[in-house]
Amino acid sequence: MQLDLRTVTIKPLRQTFSHVARRIGADKAASRYQEGTFDLQATMNFHYRPLWAPDYEIFDASRTAIVMADWYKLLDPRQYYYGSYTLARARMQEAAEADFALVEDRGLADSLPHAVRRLAMDLYLPLRHLEWGGNTNCMSLAAYGFGTAFTSPALFHAMDHLGMAQYLTRLGLVLGDEAELTAAKQAWVAGPEWQGLRKYIEDCFVMQDWFELFTAHCVVLDGLLFPLFFGEIDTHLAAQGGGAVLSMLTRFEAEWFIDATKWTNAVIKNAAGESAANKAQIESWIGTYLPLAQAALEGPARSAFGAEAPAVIEQLTEQFSARLAKLGVSTAQKG
């Protein structure tokens, strides 16, 4: 039956779902982010315990030392649900694609000075493994974290890291060839300058507390690593005669970090703001991982900056500390 419906205004019985209304008020229309996020994860009446983790419920808030009265305080300021997330990334990939196409079509890689091209490959190609490690760690957050407000963006983060590992692979294939990727993997596995980072990331793989893992990887490590590689090193390579070519090939990574920081900042700010105990716990984790991350980054930083490397890292650490101070978290060493 084909009905010809006139456009009439009928009064809705309710504005949104009960659980959403409980949070935002019954008289308000909810956003797609809110309806696609609030309370999606089950919290009660679980049927069985995981055979592989019988100490825990299927979803279990006690998997971290962080305590929240309401895990849906950890909202994503970007308001990503699947649709808005894929649209945002599709826009970024379109820009990145255009840049890759330009570099490839014009053969811009061949215009790079030999030493710059060499250095870029030495620095960026082993990172594809680190990004794959980032994917692994963020998958743990998505799987074992608590509350959809956190776990959905954690999954987006994981997929972003995979995407970046793939962009770095493409960068390798634009600047070099398969053999360069093999050599870079060798450097990642055995090159002395990369072992600090590899150890850092492998230690993260076995971390049990997911918020600790989030702090160690997404906040501390990425918080220094992205500004180092896609800020300082990018500027350095450009100044050495690389021009904009390498910035074009790492555009996605640079843009991603700005976007990602909105989320990581909000999580830290809201979790630390919840209680003095949370704040102390987060500060203690940062106290542990910040020096480790600084040390881990020194190897690659030295390849770029030589003796200046410690000063560059020190400066990035200051910026990092200032960023965290704004979130109400101190990075000053305690003790």
Partner: protein, 516 residues
């Protein structure tokens, strides 16, 4: 060394390998079995993860691009549908009850699939399956969210849709779909893949999605139809993943065959029991019917899955034993289920109703061996009672099967007049089952199934009353308190369709929107 100026062009397969498995390395600062702690305990032997054949080759940039394009289209259609009060174009407001079943019973499972695939997407030591599972995790989040968004507008105008995330965790019959997924999630990663990736996504998915999506299409629901169609290309990927996973396990080691067979047997039955709800939806709830459950079963299981198992025979995999009982049950389960929901409509979040004369004739034609003989008389008896003002509501809690958690409503395979009861003793307690197959599943893992959160027992134990309720108070009304705990709005979400707010509103709104 000079840079190469002419490069070897990489094939798609080689290039994809560099984008995925080329990224991985053998850890040495932490042992691999600590990094992947759950890869061994199920007894599945994998000798070479590199033998995994990628079922599809999708890099993240392509994923974002294609999926964003789909989202753009989907939300544009949804917005238009909502703007034009598209819900008033459905055949009849009875139809909305199928959405209540879906949003409450299925969408939360999509979410669980998302988390389950995140878990296995973290835990498989092989990069190929890991990446494919991660993409499925992301797709399943998409399904959960697009379903919520598609039905969000229905929730504004109809009852029973307002609390899906709460009801799946509380309402009695919801423990059927929920325990199914909790069961899969809590199993090891390989069993999860057989349970969800293969048995559910490959063997049974057409019996779930085709009925709902074509039901939506037949009944004028563009909203639900659109998310269904939009999910199809995701589902195609999921099916190839499930099949590759089975093939891979079977080819890696002959010792895997009996384990995989056991899981296929178990999960086919678990899935079939959950599909009872779909059977009932198709035969009784769609105002305009697509096909009978029996017909769907014959096409999608007997023919399609039959061909699949013929194919798997070369690995030594056989059609699950339970298919024989399902072959008999196809004539019965939809009627038995609807008769149950008719009686328990007082404590359910959707409406029930008696089949009309036209419906009954359709059922007689579709089920010539069973409907008139066993089920028509029951519905006609209730019809006579209702005419006398005695619409029958059952308030005695039914006994549930310890495994599938469906009330004991199914009959003996060889005698449709006898309810089938099975039992097992474990730890000094008796446990009850609806069938040999559920009993068999229990007997294989009793420690797991004794943990089940059984809704009827939970009510008797006083665990399903709202906070502050006092069962010793003289005016304590247990049913009302349970409804409050469920967040079922008594008199609005529940009871018969006839006389419901949904019925009244729909008639009124439709009239204002169609008169000139």
């Amino acid at each position: 060394m000079d840079m190469p100026t002419t490069k070897k062009k990489l094939g798609i397969k080689e290039r994809y390998a560099l984008m995925t498995r080329g990224l991985d390395w053998e850890t040495s600062y932490q042992p691999m079995d600590k990094v992947f702690p759950y890869a061994q305990f199920e007894g599945i032997k994998i000798h070479d993860w590199d033998k995994w054949e990628d079922p599809f080759r999708l890099t993240m940039d392509a994923y974002w691009k294609y999926q964003a394009e789909k989202e753009r289209k989907l939300y544009a259609i949804l917005d238009a549908f909502n703007q034009n009060n598209g819900h008033l174009g459905v055949t009849d407001a009875r139809y909305v009850n199928t959405l209540k079943l879906f949003l409450n019973g299925i969408s939360p499972l999509e979410y669980m699939a998302h988390r389950g695939f995140a878990h296995v997407g973290r835990q498989f030591p092989g990069v190929g399956p890991r990446v494919a599972c991660q993409m499925q995790s992301l797709d399943e989040l998409r399904h959960a969210q697009t379903q919520i968004h598609s039905m969000s507008n229905y929730n504004k105008y109809y009852n029973g849709l307002h609390s899906p995330t709460e009801m799946i965790q509380k309402v009695w019959y919801m423990s059927v779909p929920r325990s199914f997924f909790d069961d899969a999630y809590t199993a090891g990663p390989f069993e999860f893949m057989v349970a969800i990736g293969f048995s559910f996504e490959y063997v049974l998915t057409n019996l779930l999605f085709v009925p709902f999506v074509s039901g939506a299409a037949y009944n004028g629901d563009m909203g639900a139809m659109t998310f269904g169609f939009s999910a199809q290309s995701d589902e195609a990927r999921h099916m190839t993943l499930g099949l590759e996973c089975i093939r891979f396990m079977l080819e890696q080691d002959p010792d895997n065959i009996p384990i995989v067979q056991k899981w296929i047997d178990k999960w086919t039955w678990r899935g079939i029991r959950v599909l009872t709800l779909v059977a009932m939806m198709m035969d009784y709830m769609l105002p305009k019917k697509v096909m009978s459950w029996k017909e769907a079963w014959e096409i999608y299981f007997e023919e399609n899955a039959g061909a699949l198992f013929n194919d798997l025979a070369r690995y030594g995999i056989k059609m699950p034993e339970c298919a024989k009982q399902a072959f008999i049950d196809k004539d019965h389960i939809s009627h038995q289920a609807w008769a149950t929901f008719y009686q328990y409509s007082g404590i359910s979040n959707f409406h029930s109703w008696l089949p009309s004369e036209e419906d009954k004739d359709w059922l007689s034609a579709k089920y010539p061996d069973t409907f008139d003989k066993y089920y028509r008389p029951r519905f006609e008896h209730w019809e006579a009672e209702a005419k006398e003002g005695r619409r029958f509501y059952n308030t005695t809690l039914p006994q549930l099967c310890q495994v599938c958690q469906i009330p004991m409503i199914f009959t003996e395979p060889d005698d449709p007049t006898q309810i089938c009861y099975r039992e097992s003793d474990f730890g000094g307690e008796k446990y009850h089952f609806c069938s040999d197959h559920c009993k068999h599943i229990f007997d294989d893992e009793p420690e797991k199934y004794v943990q089940a959160w059984m809704p009827a027992q939970q009510i008797y134990q006083g665990n399903c009353f709202p906070e502050g309720a006092d069962p010793t108070a003289p005016d304590f009304n247990a049913v009302e308190e349970v409804l409050k705990y469920y967040n079922i709005h008594n008199g609005r979400d529940n009871m018969d369709y006839v006389g419901s707010e949904d019925e009244k509103n729909f008639a009124e709104w439709r009239q204002t929107s169609t008169k000139n």
